[in-house]
Symmetry: C2
Subunit: 120 residues, 2 copies
Amino acid sequence: MEIHYKDKTYFSGKDLALSAIGGRWKIAVIWCLLHDSPLRLSEIQKKLPQANQRMLIRQLRELEEDKIVTRYVYPVVPPKVEYKLSEIGLQLEPVVTSICDWGDEFSVFVEKEANKAPAE
Amino acid sequence: MEIHYKDKTYFSGKDLALSAIGGRWKIAVIWCLLHDSPLRLSEIQKKLPQANQRMLIRQLRELEEDKIVTRYVYPVVPPKVEYKLSEIGLQLEPVVTSICDWGDEFSVFVEKEANKAPAE
DNA sequence: ACTCATAGTGACAAAAAAGTCAGTATTGTT
DNA sequence: AACAATACTGACTTTTTTGTCACTATGAGT
């Protein structure tokens, strides 16, 4: 069950999924768009102040290439561009939710471990 | 709601989660251990032939550091070491499952798109 | 004529991740 | 004495990913 996509070979849906959503800010961007949509670049930037503009644009471009995110350009000046999740993008909701849920549990766990072992 | 862990600062459980499960082979290793446990290194290697031994060991070490995977060393010769998911590791099941599910849908989607646009 | 806002791009540097190859330890078997 | 099996480690190199900085375009408002 080999999948060929963008000059690479994947051996399972899971592998392909990871290559599509694996960027540093992708899950965060998708999370934003699941909660609030459509969003303009400047709005995403406000929601993710740790990421710099260049990176966000790159992540959005890749998500767009993979048809996970759709980009609407309004022909106005100054430019206005809106991003939203495609149909397949919206289906990432369980992925994002389960990661958030586990992450919250894990951060509680990590917190507990830190108190347990008061090293350094 | 800042989380400090291993000299880094995370701004949400999601960020922390991604740093813990974000390695190239981590989801794959966790997937193996969810389906079949405990496993020895040599068994994981057989299940993930694309990964080389050094990488698997590194990913396992990191998962162990984060207490997602537990490592049992039997004091025998030749060495015998078994890996299994910890309690918090087992809780990754919904994450792995949702990624696999979405990945399968995405690979169908990608397949369809490829047929739709017979470029190159 | 100048400035502002928005959404970019290009070229490059730095850092992180992944991959490669050779080598180690132990004890039983041949 | 040499070899096999297992689970590693060290020292690198290569590749990939991130991050930074400077720069562009357009029309409105001053």
